[in-house]
């Protein structure tokens, strides 16, 4: 057997081992229900409940921002983000939060916003609007 074949087998073996271990880093996007049941750290895709209150009071704690969000099944939960309030969250289409359920609220320390592009809304701005502002 040639060395190159040995190396090949070796590389394939490592590749399989690594790919198997990657599966440990992978998860499906969870819903709030699943987050409650598993109690694990998960990613949840949700939408901001724009009618509910968002609280960010940095004088008290600059690392705490709370809001309400609905997951894809329509279940609404309070989310406590242990960070400062992300910019433009009001404009987000969907939100991906990473964290886990703690009692009644979802405590997240990572957030990704999906915002509609500024250029997608094809509203024509008129010159006089500019004057008014």
């Amino acid at each position: 057997m040639k060395k190159i074949h040995l190396i090949g087998i070796f590389v394939i073996a490592i590749a399989i081992a690594v790919l198997m271990s990657i599966s440990g880093d992978v998860s499906t996007y969870a819903t709030f229900d699943q987050a409650i049941q598993s109690g694990d750290r998960v990613k949840v895709v949700c939408q901001l409940s724009k009618d509910k209150e968002m609280v960010y009071n940095p004088v008290e704690d600059p690392n705490r921002f709370t809001f309400f969000a609905k997951d894809d099944n329509g279940l609404e939960k309070q989310v406590i983000l242990l960070r400062s309030k992300p910019q433009d969250i009001e404009m987000s289409e969907s939100i991906v939060i990473t964290g886990k359920m703690q009692e009644e609220a979802f405590v997240a320390n990572d957030i990704l916003l999906k915002c509609p592009s500024k250029y997608k809304d094809e509203e024509i701005q008129l010159k006089r609007e500019q004057k008014g502002s």
């Binding site: 490592i14 880093d25 004088v59 990473t98 250029y119 701005q125 010159k127 006089r128």
Partner: protein
């Protein structure tokens, strides 16, 4: 419908040249194809001529299209959709380049532009390779041009739109009632460039990165040419400088992206394993693997097959990266925002075509590719370099697999609609975990392999030299690693190993330069590159592993936080020092220039009193109503960076929020005479008087303003503390603008109500009695004696600011009152400004008297003076005070220390320099073809 003021000609010219360059690229591909097929026949020359001519036409066409777009952008022809989308009237010219490639069409054109430039260079330098290389390049151009063609094929409902033309008109793209009006152009304004991208990095990063992407086509074309013409050995030499060039430029492009992210964006780091970063890194890794096997192949004849595969794959991965980043498929996993343009199908076709060409040619010719019979010896340089290339490939595969999960989800959904999308939970640790081992292997290999020789040359004699140098390097690296651990903390043995490996390759390659190359720096490009890699590894461990948030104040932490949760921000009140991690930090001041609000934050080190300032800033949108982006600021030391970023309170970041908030405050009205005291709910205030030349930090004086401020001091009841404040109100044209005074410590906001202007204007309730009198005469009014003591032709009056052309005069009035032992003076003004008569009244607060000077009769030398008595109430100064105001004079600061980050920059720059050096050294291959 007639539209007024449209400039349709440039669009027609542009689109014509777009179509022309599309057709010309097709012709060039075909002509060069036949020039290759009929090589060494008499026909070759004429095909080549056609090929050259059509590629030249294609290239000029692309240049004209690019030029035309710039023309319509510079002239702000908003009738074009692309111009309207990316340009606005207030966009500074220096950002016109950024605006050009902000959109998909512009960036595709940028890509094509570089292809054309490279194509022209190849036309003159590639010699015998010209035809096959340019045939492939022209085919690439054909496909990219089709993406911006904007041509409809087929009819009716089946109509298929191919590409989107950058010259489409706004009124054809967007439905809006405004287009019912023929002169709509006079009414619309451009959308403008996203403020986040109004940054010099966005001027230099995209063209560099795109030149990097574009240049990967050259090794691909040479590989195709080699397979196509069967000259499997000959192409290895001319491709080399091109591959080095590509590695250098693509590398610089990626680095600029990470420098931009670190320096100007709020990402807080230089690399985050974001999918967009990953997909640009993968082609680069494969290219580097290719360069290594290319070297092997050129020197020993081994690894020609793998060189083919790597160079072919590198460009295919560039197209794959384009697909991922432009199709919107990464939306859920990347922080970069991308819009869809309906290009998915064309991009998939793009990949398929070029994968097919590569696979077909490779499989067809595989058997003919020469390889030495004997396999590589395990003590030869080529063997270990090949292993290194494999490790790089492995790294590229791992990154690609993880980054492609969204693609997997999309495909799985096609077969199984119930498929649950999967994703990597935490991107950064995931990638770091695997790439750590890649970096260890690469570092060790690039150290040891330097001491080996190609073809195991004279191994028996060489082995002792090899062992000696390897051993010395290990020892020195071990010692240096130990010293490094005294400086930075290395928490796990894996990292310690990596640190050692990184230092080892630096030491080994330095040794190599001195002992093997005898200091011949011309030959040292590979050693420099590997030293750079080693330094980069050290930099990553130091800055990535030891990066530390210093913006924490443990006393302020809540019990709620669990360990894995971050506590990264502190709140800084303006002017109040805050202690955090060994520093006293103070938010000193802020200034607004244009739409940039710059903050000054002072750091004072507790132990040695060293002090420095950082200047993070907030960029507002073009109307200065809302913060569009926060820009970090970094204090650089040789051995570390202190990186700072902040956010503003809601009410400061958004004018609308500020207004809403103002509305929720409950103001109480207080009125008092000059020097009187008023008692508010919790405190008391002394009103010192009205100031007609007021100053306020937010107030910028404009011509025609009528401004006044109330000077007052606020006092705490139970303490000796007081604050001097001055709320200001301004009448500008017909608007009343309030600049409240704030005493943050007392949660107090003070503003001046409109009522205050009653003192100067209006006050219809006053009932004036008119008296006509001459100089020196007097009259009685309510028992008081009022005498007219002549004119003052140079009058001064608190509310009067002289303007050119004014005719102003005041009447000097003297009042004596029976009950008072002093006399009073008043000087009402009579003013003619722009042929309009005005009068400005004056008053004597203590007597409650108001005077106005309404007429002059030059013939009789008389004046008419009006006198009125007002309630005492009316000469009181009104102020409104709210005592429930939340503070808004603060910033929320994040500060991170990155130790040793300069090793990262130094190392990466050294690597890039090495690629340029290597390109320069091998330019002979470039010249001789």
């Amino acid at each position: 419908m007639e539209y007024i003021g449209e400039h349709l000609l440039p669009g027609q010219i542009g689109h014509f040249f777009l179509l022309l360059s599309f057709v010309a690229s097709l012709l060039a591909a075909i002509a060069y194809f036949f020039a290759t097929q009929r090589r060494n026949t008499p026909e070759e020359g004429s095909w080549k001529k056609i090929g050259r001519a059509s590629f030249t036409i294609h290239g000029l066409g692309v240049f004209i299209v690019v030029g035309t777009i710039f023309y319509i952008m510079v002239n702000q022809y908003f009738e074009y959709h692309y111009v309207w989308e990316h340009v606005s009237e207030d966009l500074p010219m220096k950002y016109i380049l950024s605006a050009f490639w902000e959109g998909q069409q512009g960036s595709l054109l940028l890509w094509m532009f570089w292809h054309v430039v490279l194509g022209f260079v190849l036309m003159f330098t590639a010699k015998s390779w010209e035809s096959p290389v340019l045939s492939t390049l022209a085919l690439v151009q054909l496909i990219i041009t089709s993406m911006i063609l904007g041509v409809y094929v087929g009819f009716g409902a089946e109509e298929l739109k191919i590409g989107s033309n950058p010259f489409v008109l706004l009124r054809n793209e967007v439905q809006a009632p405004i287009f019912a009006s023929g002169d709509y152009l006079r009414q619309i304004k451009g959308n403008g460039l996203n403020p986040l991208l109004q940054n010099y990095w966005n001027t230099i990063h995209p063209p560099t990165l795109f030149l990097g992407f574009a240049s990967t086509i050259v090794p691909y074309c040479f590989a195709v040419a080699g397979l196509w013409t069967g000259r499997h050995k000959e192409w290895l030499k001319p491709v080399m400088p091109w591959a080095s060039f590509s590695a250098a430029i693509l590398g610089v492009g990626i680095l600029m992206g990470s420098a931009w992210a670190y320096e100007a964006l709020s990402f807080g780091g230089y690399w985050a394993w974001d999918p967009v970063e990953n997909t640009s890194l993968v082609p680069w890794l494969i290219l580097i693997a290719g360069i290594h096997t290319n070297l092997i192949a050129k020197n020993t004849g081994y690894s020609i097959k793998s060189t083919y595969i790597f160079y072919l794959l590198s460009f295919v991965m560039v197209v794959y990266s384009t697909l991922l980043t432009r199709s919107g498929i990464l939306g859920d996993t990347s922080v970069h925002a991308f819009t869809e343009m309906g290009l998915e199908n064309q991009l998939v076709l793009f990949i398929l075509v070029f994968t097919f060409i590569a696979a077909f040619l490779y499989l067809k010719n595989r058997k003919d590719i020469p390889a030495p019979q004997k396999e590589e010896a395990s003590s030869s340089k080529e063997f270990w370099m090949f292993i290194g290339a494999l490790v790089l490939t492995f790294s590229a595969i791992l990154i690609t697999v993880s980054t492609s999960l969204p693609v997997y989800n999309k495909i799985a959904e096609l077969f199984n609609p119930a498929h649950e999308a999967i994703t990597i939970k935490d991107q950064e640790p995931h990638h770091n975990k695997y790439q750590l081992w890649i970096a260890v292997l690469i570092s060790l290999l690039s150290g040891f392999a330097q001491f080996l020789r190609f073809k195991e040359f004279n191994w028996k004699k060489h082995i002792s030299k090899f062992s000696k140098h390897a051993a010395i390097s290990i020892l020195i690296a071990g010692g240096l690693t130990f010293l490094t651990t005294l400086w930075i903390k290395v928490i796990a043995w894996q990292y310690l190993l990596l640190l050692f490996a990184g230092i080892f390759t630096v030491v080994a390659n330095t040794d190599y330069i001195f002992t093997f190359l005898k200091g011949n720096l011309k030959m040292a490009s590979s050693a420099f590159g590997h030293i750079g890699f080693g330094l980069m590894v050290v930099g990553i461990i130091a800055s990535g592993l030891n990066k530390k948030h210093i913006s924490t104040n443990p006393f302020a932490q809540r019990g709620l936080l669990s360990q894995d949760m971050l506590n990264t921000n502190v709140l800084l009140l303006k002017g109040v020092p805050m202690f955090m991690s060994g520093y006293h930090v103070t938010y000193v001041s802020d200034t607004l220039e244009g739409n940039l609000r710059k903050f000054k934050v002072n750091f004072k080190k507790e132990d040695n009193g060293e002090t420095f300032d950082v200047y993070p800033s907030a960029t507002y949108d073009n109307q200065v109503t809302k913060v569009a982006a926060y820009n970090p600021s970094t204090k650089r030391y040789l051995d570390k960076d202190i990186f700072t970023l902040f956010i503003l309170p809601r009410t400061e970041a958004d004018i609308q929020e500020k207004r809403n908030y103002e509305d929720t405050l409950s103001y109480e009205l207080y009125q008092a005479y000059e020097n009187d005291t008023i008692f508010t709910k919790n405190h008391y205030a002394i009103i010192h008087g009205i100031n007609f030349k007021p100053t306020h930090e937010d107030y910028k004086k404009e011509d025609g303003d009528i401004a006044l401020g109330v000077k007052m001091s606020i006092h705490k009841i139970d303490a000796d503390t007081s604050w001097q404040v001055e709320p200001v109100t301004v009448v500008r044209k017909n608007l009343l603008i309030n600049y409240p005074a704030i005493v943050p410590e007392l949660s107090m906001r003070i503003k001046i109500p409109e009522l205050i202007f009653d003192r100067f204007f209006g006050q219809p309730s006053l009932d004036y009695s008119d008296f006509v009198l001459k100089d020196g005469e007097h009259f009685s009014y309510n028992g008081m004696k009022i005498s007219f003591n002549g004119f003052n032709t140079n009058p001064s009056h608190p509310a009067y600011t002289p303007e050119e052309g004014d005719i102003a005069v005041s009447a000097i009035l003297k009042v004596t009152s029976p009950g008072k032992d002093k006399s009073f003076e008043a000087e009402p003004i009579y003013l003619i400004r722009k042929s309009q008569p005005f009068n400005m009244k004056d008053q004597i607060g203590e007597l409650g008297l108001h005077f106005r000077f309404t007429e002059i009769d030059p013939a009789n030398k008389t004046v008419k003076i009006g006198v009125a008595t007002a309630d005492q109430q009316e000469s009181k100064i009104p102020v409104e005070i709210a005592e429930n105001a939340l503070r808004s004079d603060y910033i929320v600061l994040e500060a991170i220390v990155f130790p040793g980050i300069n090793f990262f920059w130094l190392g990466t720059i050294l690597m890039m320099v090495a690629f340029f050096l290597s390109m320069w050294n091998r330019r002979k291959g470039f010249k001789n073809g």
